[in-house]
Amino acid sequence: MTKDRSEILQGTLDLMVLQTLDAMGPLHGYGIARRIEQISEEVLRLNQGTIYASLVRLLQKGWISGAWGASENNRKAKFYSITRRGRKQLSAETENWERIAGVMGRVLQLAERR
């Protein structure tokens, strides 16, 4: 039971990371975390460290790639960018997500109307 829930959360985070990289181009861990927080209008305040587990998973699946570069403050940082395979996965997942969201929306409306 608990496992399933965390899996959904993990999947969600992974999807958000992918989406962020797709929209913003190469980013380092801090950048990704910041961006997700901003977009969610600070609703989603995560332990920024959790982003790294997500990054490892995405790397292992070959959906993103990482390369060392220099950050804004001239520190050595790892920049991640989405791969072609990652984009394909993203569009598939987005579609899937939207379908689920649509269904959920309709179901919830139904409940309200009652």
Binding site: H28, G29, Y30, N47, Q48, G49, T50, Y52, A53, V56, R57, L59, Q60, K61, G62, S71, E72, N73, R75, K76, A77, K78
Partner: protein, 879 residues
């Protein structure tokens, strides 16, 4: 689709570079922290606060690194290493338990692999001919020979009219040939075969060509194929041998080819030279019908052996009318059987018996492993519960149980390989010449793996089972409940062991009893203090019969001079084998009506007067031959008791005249001798008569056996005998052996089989005892508290012991009942291997049960006496 594969690959890569990945990640985190700190500074926090807030935002660095590491590497591999270390520690901590399990597995694997390796080439492995399952041996089976044979005239008939075979081919019985290569004379094994012999077996010569139809014409010049081994020995493997001419039995013969290295004669005979049989269909039928052959055939596609037999039968009946003497017809029958059956003829039953008993042993071993693992699992319940309570996941516990079980399996497997090797050596040495194809016995990898898998499955199945059970809190307080379900299961396992062991024991005791009968039977002659020297004269040196006569005369004169301190005789053959027999019904008694036309064969030997004294054969009536008769023109005959009874009933045979082979020559009967074993040791003796070896007779034959009865040490005589032979003909091979040794050879296979089955039975018994001991010890340990209570309430130690013995009784009762049933089935199956012992021999059954019960009682004694010694105060306090 292959996403998970990519993940695994990346993880494996990660596992190897974990250190670098760690450093990289640390750097990544550092820079992340720095960026967060700067952000906080921009917000106006003090540097100190900024750094603190940054660390809070990021989360615990140590935990992040831990997670990162787990994601990158192969955590289960590390867990495995941990499990292995733990398992090894456990194995070392319980050396006794470990040793028993490992030895059990090793025995099971070793014995089954070794025996399978020996019987596999006999029972299962393909014969070295393409499509070997189409090959059959065909022919007449009659009292003349143990194997089917054919005669030339019938072979020609069948060849012409048969329908079930693609080919039918023939070979003459093998024999010694004299070969002259350059100036070196050699005696070699040669076989004369039909032109399509090799084609039938789908064998092509390694070099050169096969025989052609022209080579096989009656008067064609001799051509030969050499065996690979002979080619190597005699010509050093020189390919230029093709076209060379050698001298074979005084005739030139051209070498046309060499047989393949792996070639085997279909009846497994040794071969050096193969030549065309050149059978002549134009010879009179009477001549061809007394010329013997072995015939083999290749079935047509889709024809079964049964169908072939049915389709051949009319042909068989027809040619039998022409070729088989009327008096033998009722005893001749048609045989069509697979080549494999022909080859393993007399060891088939022994092979299956050995295989069966070793499978039984393997089962007992597996059950034992299962039982031991279960016992251990129960004993460790408490530990498992403790570990679960401390936070070990069930998957983790199971994985650990699995690792441990596998360790046992692996250790046992390694030891089993060693045991298999040792046992195979042992069997090969024991069996000597008693099993064919022993040189091909190799440790069979498939079987080794199969046996290994079997015992590992047993170990794993029962080692892991307890981990499947949800650890219950009450186990933490010292397993009060015995888990009755599992105890019943374990008892059933032990009962099964007892049953299998009993079957093995019965088999062993039947075989041992049969062997004892074989050893102690009366042979009809006294082999003690008798030395025999046998030889076969070479064809080319003794071609004019006068040379043979001179040889025998001189030999006799020379050997008589040896101071053996006993008697001396010369014969053409000696028991326990006969010579080629003659039909009983060919004989006639002077003044009597012809004999009944049935009655099989009669053996006969030509002997010198000293034969009966030397062999220790009793003369029951009349007298033995005398020296003076040797030169007289008479042909006195001595009958064996069986033959005398059969021909004359209660009449006195001495003084009667009989005709031996329808040639009008009447021979006076001068005596009746006791029966001897002349048909091997196990078959009832054939009737037999003796004729006197006449001085200067040309009927002596090329084979001879010299016999000495001596009061000296036989070994001291051997050089004397050899010297005298060498003086006569230095190139003549002579086999000198004691009569006892000769007889002993006939008992070697029964002894070998009895020994191995006995060994397996003993091992099975030992394992069953270990199993019984284990279960009882476990029961006693489980019931310590109960026993304590009972003793506190006044039970005497004896009552407690009786209580334990009751368990033994119920176990043994079930096991023995099932085992007896199995024993009867087994005994029926091995009836053919038994000599003068009924398969339901009560003594054997009783012996087996007694041994089993005594062993069980011994195994039960320790746990039951331990139970009886339980101190109630201690037993109750320990809870």
């Amino acid at each position: 689709m292959f996403g998970w594969l990519r993940v695994v690959a990346s993880r494996i890569r990660g596992w190897f570079t974990i250190r670098r990945l760690d450093e990289d990640f640390q750097q990544e985190l550092d820079s992340h922290l720095a960026l967060l700190t700067e952000e906080n500074l921009r917000r106006g926090l003090t540097p100190e606060e900024a750094r603190r807030a940054a660390r809070v935002r990021l989360g615990g660095v140590t935990q992040l690194r831990e997670t990162h590491r787990e994601l990158q590497g192969l955590p289960w591999l590390e867990a495995l290493a941990q499990d292995l270390r733990y398992a090894l520690r456990m194995l070392r901590k319980n050396p006794g338990f470990t040793a028993v399990v490992v030895v059990t597995i090793a025995l099971g694997i070793g014995a089954s692999t070794a025996v399978f390796s020996v019987v596999d080439p006999l029972l299962f492995r393909r014969l070295p001919y393409p499509q070997d399952d189409q090959l059959v041996s065909v022919g007449y089976l009659g009292p003349v020979d143990n194997n089917e044979f054919n005669v030339v005239s019938s072979y020609f008939d069948w060849r012409q009219a048969q329908t079930p075979f693609q080919f039918i081919t023939a070979m003459r019985p093998g024999g010694e040939c004299d070969v002259l290569i350059g100036d070196t004379p050699r005696q070699v094994r040669c076989y004369a075969v039909a032109a399509d012999f090799l084609k039938t077996f789908r064998i092509r010569p390694a070099i050169g060509r096969d025989f052609s139809a022209e080579d096989d014409q009656p008067r064609a010049p001799t051509v030969v194929l050499l065996s690979y081994g002979f080619w190597q020995r005699a010509f050093g493997g020189d390919a230029k041998v093709l076209g060379k001419t050698i001298t074979l039995n005084e005739e030139p013969a051209q070498v046309i080819g060499v047989l393949p290295k792996t070639f085997e004669m279909p009846q497994l005979g040794d071969i050096d030279v193969m030549l065309p049989a050149r059978l002549d269909a134009s010879r009179p039928r009477s001549a061809n019908s007394s010329s013997f052959l072995r015939t083999f055939a290749r079935l047509r596609e889709g024809v079964s052996i049964e169908q072939a037999r049915d389709r051949l039968r009319p042909l068989f009946e027809e040619s039998m009318q022409k070729d088989v003497p009327v008096e033998l017809r009722s005893e001749a029958r048609l045989v069509v059987r697979s080549l494999r059956d022909r080859q393993i003829h007399d060891v088939k039953r022994a092979s299956w018996l050995l295989l069966g008993s070793v499978i039984a042993l393997f089962l007992v071993a597996c059950i034992n492993v299962a039982n031991l693992m279960l016992a251990r699992a129960v004993a460790r319940r408490r530990e498992l519960a403790m570990r679960a309570a401390l936070g070990a996941g069930r998957g983790r516990l199971m994985r650990q149980a699995l690792t441990e079980s596998l360790m046992f399996g692996l250790l046992g497997g390694v030891a089993g390989c060693g045991a298999a090797w040792v046992l195979l050596r042992l069997i090969v040495n024991l069996a000597a010449d008693q099993m064919p194809r022993l040189d091909q016995a190799r440790i069979d990898l498939r079987v080794l793996l199969f046996a290994l898998a079997g015992s590992i499955v047993a170990a794993v199945l029962f080692g892991v089972a307890p981990a499947l059970e949800r650890p219950r809190a009450e186990f933490l307080f010292g397993g009060r409940t015995a888990g009755t379900g599992r105890t019943v299961f374990r008892k059933a396992l032990v009962a099964a062991q007892v049953a299998i062991s009993l079957v093995l024991l019965t088999g062993a005791s039947l075989l041992v009893r049969s062997l004892a009968k074989l050893e102690n039977q009366s042979l009809g002659f006294q082999p003690e203090h008798v030395l025999s020297a046998s030889f076969t004269l070479r064809h080319h040196r003794y071609q004019p019969t006068s040379a043979q006569i001179t040889f025998y005369d001189e030999l006799e004169a020379r050997l008589k001079r040896i101071p053996a301190g006993g008697s001396f005789a010369l014969s053409d053959s000696i028991p326990p084998r006969g010579s080629m027999g003659r039909p009983y019904s060919n004989m006639r008694i002077f003044g009597h009506p012809p004999l009944a036309p049935d009655g099989g064969m009669v053996e006969f030997r030509r002997v010198t007067p000293g034969y009966f004294q030397t062999m220790g054969i009793a003369i029951l009536a009349g007298r033995a031959f005398t020296e003076s008769e040797c030169a007289s023109g008479e042909s006195p005959v001595i009958l064996s008791a069986t033959l005398a009874r059969r021909m004359f009933g209660n009449e006195n045979p001495v003084g009667q005249q009989i005709e031996l082979d329808g040639n009008g020559h009447w021979c006076p009967i001068v005596g009746v001798a006791a029966d001897t074993r002349n048909n091997g040791l196990t078959d009832p003796p054939d009737p037999e008569y003796y004729r006197l070896r006449m001085k200067g007779s040309d009927e002596l034959g090329a084979s001879g056996v010299v016999l000495f009865r001596t009061s000296l040490d036989p070994a001291a005589l051997v050089p004397w005998i050899r010297k005298e032979f060498a003086a006569l003909d230095p190139s003549l091979p002579v086999t000198v052996e004691t009569m006892e040794g000769r007889v002993q050879r006939f008992r070697e296979r029964p002894r070998f089989v009895a020994l191995l089955v006995g060994l397996f039975a003993a091992l099975g018994l030992l394992l069953a005892a270990v199993g019984l001991y284990g279960v009882l010890s476990f029961l006693v340990a489980q019931q310590t508290r109960e026993i304590g209570v009972r003793m506190a309430l006044g039970a005497r130690p004896r009552d407690i012991a009786v209580q334990v013995q009751k368990h033994v009784g119920s176990l043994m009762g079930m096991g023995v009942a099932a085992g007896l049933a199995g024993s009867l089935v087994l005994a029926r199956a091995i009836r053919g291997l038994l000599f003068e012992i009924s398969p339901t021999d009560p003594i054997s059954l009783l012996a087996a049960v007694t041994v089993l019960v005594v062993t069980a009682a011994l195994a039960a004694w320790i746990p039951s006496s331990r139970a009886a010694r339980v101190d109630p105060a201690l037993a109750l306090r320990c809870e």
